[in-house]
Amino acid sequence: MSFEHVQSRWLFAAVSLGLAVAMLMLGPGIALLATEVAIMALFASSLGFLINYGGMVSFGHAAYFGLGAYGFALAAAKLGLPLWLAVVLGPLTAALGAVLFGALCVRLTHIYFAMLTLACSEIVFTVLFQAYDYTGGDNGLTNFMAPRFGLSPQIYAALTVAIVALCIAFLARIVRSPLGLAIQAVGEEPHRAAALGFSPRLVQLVACVIAGTLAGIAGTMYSVFQGNAFPDYAGVGITIDALVMVVIGGVKGFYGGVFGAIIYVLLKTFVSRAFTHWELVIGLILIAVVLIFPTGIAGLLQKLGLSRTARPSGEQHP
């Protein structure tokens, strides 16, 4: 799924369109599940972009998911704004959050970056949880709209798939653009990138804002999907889920997040329905997956020759 060739771009568009149309023919139960998968695929891809291209492992990506959800839900429920406006405000809130937190976090590298993102998302979570006069606290915001704008599960699933496909196509374009190359260069070797004339921090900040905004879109779509918002949406649990998706999808390239989301959401859903001790089963499966396919599903596909590039290369020989 490399986008350097026109054919693959058309292929991607065709597959996305096909998927969106297919959503209309599903039963409502499967359509609901597919919607969740698609939203998580976008969220995981945005984190995968940050990790695999920007070289920044975030432990606090859920902050933007939560801000996206609450930006929308607060605008709709508390400010009484029309839904179309609220839907725009969700990702915008996440983008603002990403500018603020990103500016702080890009000062740090590696594990310290990860820990600062964790602190930021815990702060967001705590504020959402404790400022209950505004946010509803742990009771969240509910009953302020018909879930999915009242659309049928199938239509909302098709809409979600289409939006997610657009977002991922956008990410793919970014990755190929000069900006994307700069992000990769900084991600791989900040010092060399600096020598090439980039301001590494600025480039990283831009990457954070892109990832944060896309995570915010996912959060807003999730809030619309559920018709509610809860502090959990900014909780560390969602970040961890996304990290797991990125890893089992393949720690190379952002589309690993898509594979990861499909596998992990289905796995969690069906294992937890089938087993009382589902956490044990999932834990064992995760260990097995990591030991058997350390390169993730994308890496496996690449090994099998089903995918050409595991990681679009920004530069060749030094």
Binding site: E36, P153, S272
Partner: protein, 407 residues
């Protein structure tokens, strides 16, 4: 919002259309039991699930309901609102359940009641409660068979007001909505009953905190006659154990939520005096009638320990539903909802009804001193007062005005 009504209708038709096909008389009644089995509520749900399963077995052994067997589909909400909503949607859309129950966390409850309203499937809460779900966000398909936090706080305030020795009261509460609501309702009602009482500033406690020593020192420094603790579960165990080490119960008294599972956990470790509790259904305070005896005995025979409050509540909730179905002679949502307020239920906790306006059951609360009793390996609320719902139920005008304000 009007614009969207067409879409909503479409959604409902698509989603529910499949569920309302002709039902054979022999088809089982499917109940979706979406409970917070893992995550923050897991420790409370355990006893409830056991009692719920017991109740279903008993009903099936007696031939089921309306000649139909009951089939339960269990799901784990992981104590996450979105997971709860997801599982409930799936239970209704795919598994075609006719009733949803099992919830414990108020957040999950609020997420699930929205789905129940959207898809018009009856949903009741036996162990979780939320006054928001019955008051501001009340919806016809939801009812709640345990007392809410407002009712409980009023019951405790009545109990505290009766003790003239308590003049300075320090609230110590979890720093989130439930804690603050509970302290507010308690303080307001107590002030009404005893204007002479001084209520000290509340000490907010971080949720999930394992070390309570700072809070204990802070609350003791205020030298209160009584500490009102809006703390439950593991946090309460921490508070009592660490409090004992600080001589808490020599310096003051504590009134807090002491459900049977907490008492069982603490075993012989609770202080001899100074601990007062409120609870929702302590089996030791229930009426001495054959129904209660039979339930306690069969639960104990099955699980080797006495049923906790959650078990009693879960059993009562299920049996009430059975009565409603019998009265409605149907499991259809609208029939059930119509029959709901007409049933006078004789349950483990006595005689109760569900109010049509808000779906709140006239559930009693129990308040009393926690003391050691030779008959049990743990302290109990011996001789606790049963505070009837007639004293605590939120007035109808209040609900109407709250709903009007929410709109």
């Amino acid at each position: 919002m009007k614009l969207k009504r067409g879409g909503l209708l479409l959604a409902t038709l698509l989603a529910v259309g499949v569920t309302t096909g002709p039902v054979q008389a022999q088809d089982p009644i499917r109940i979706g039991y979406a409970a917070d089995m893992s995550g923050a509520c897991g420790s409370l749900v355990d006893g409830a699930t056991k009692a719920f399963r017991l109740g279903v077995e008993e009903l099936n052994a007696a031939g089921g309901l309306l000649g139909r067997k009951i089939e339960v589909i269990e799901r784990d909400t992981k104590t996450k609102p979105d997971e709860g909503a997801k599982e409930v949607r799936d239970l209704i859309v795919n598994s075609k359940v006719e009733l949803i129950t099992g919830v414990c966390s108020s957040a999950v409850l609020l997420a699930e009641t929205a789905v129940s309203a959207e898809l018009k499937v009856p949903f009741y809460s036996a162990i979780g409660n939320s006054q928001t779900a019955t008051i501001e966000k009340g919806q016809p398909y939801f009812w709640q068979t345990n007392p809410n936090v407002l009712m409980e706080s009023i019951a405790v305030a009545e109990y505290v007001a009766a003790n003239k020795a308590w003049k300075k009261i320090a609230p110590l509460a979890y720093d989130y909505e439930w804690g603050h609501t509970s302290v507010k309702a308690f303080s307001e009602h107590l002030k009404k009953l005893r204007p002479d009482i001084e209520i000290l500033p509340m000490v907010p406690v971080k949720l999930g905190e394992t070390n309570m020593t700072s809070y204990i020192t802070a609350v003791l420094a205020q030298k209160p006659d009584l500490v009102y603790g809006a703390i439950f579960g593991g946090g309460l165990v921490n508070l009592v154990k660490q409090g004992k080490a600080f001589g808490f119960f020599q310096q003051t008294s504590l009134v807090t939520l002491t459900t049977v599972d907490f008492l069982q956990t603490m075993g012989g470790e609770l202080p001899e005096a100074g601990l007062h509790g409120f609870a929702r259904a302590p089996f030791t305070s229930l009426l001495d009638n054959p129904k209660v005896k039979s339930f306690v005995q069969s639960y104990k025979a099955r699980h080797g320990k006495d049923p906790d409050d959650w078990a009693v509540l879960a059993y009562d909730g299920l049996m009430f539903y059975a009565e409603v179905v019998k009265a409605a002679k149907s499991t259809k949502a609208d029939d059930v909802v119509k029959a709901l307020p007409t049933v006078k239920y004789e349950g483990l906790r006595g005689s109760m009804t569900v109010r049509g306006l808000d779906g709140q059951m006239s559930a009693p609360s129990f308040v009393g001193a926690v003391i050691k009793d030779a008959a049990y390996p743990f302290s109990i609320m011996k001789g606790a007062t049963r505070v009837d719902a007639s004293k605590t139920l939120t007035p109808e005008d209040f609900i109407k005005s709250a709903r009007a304000a929410a709109k």
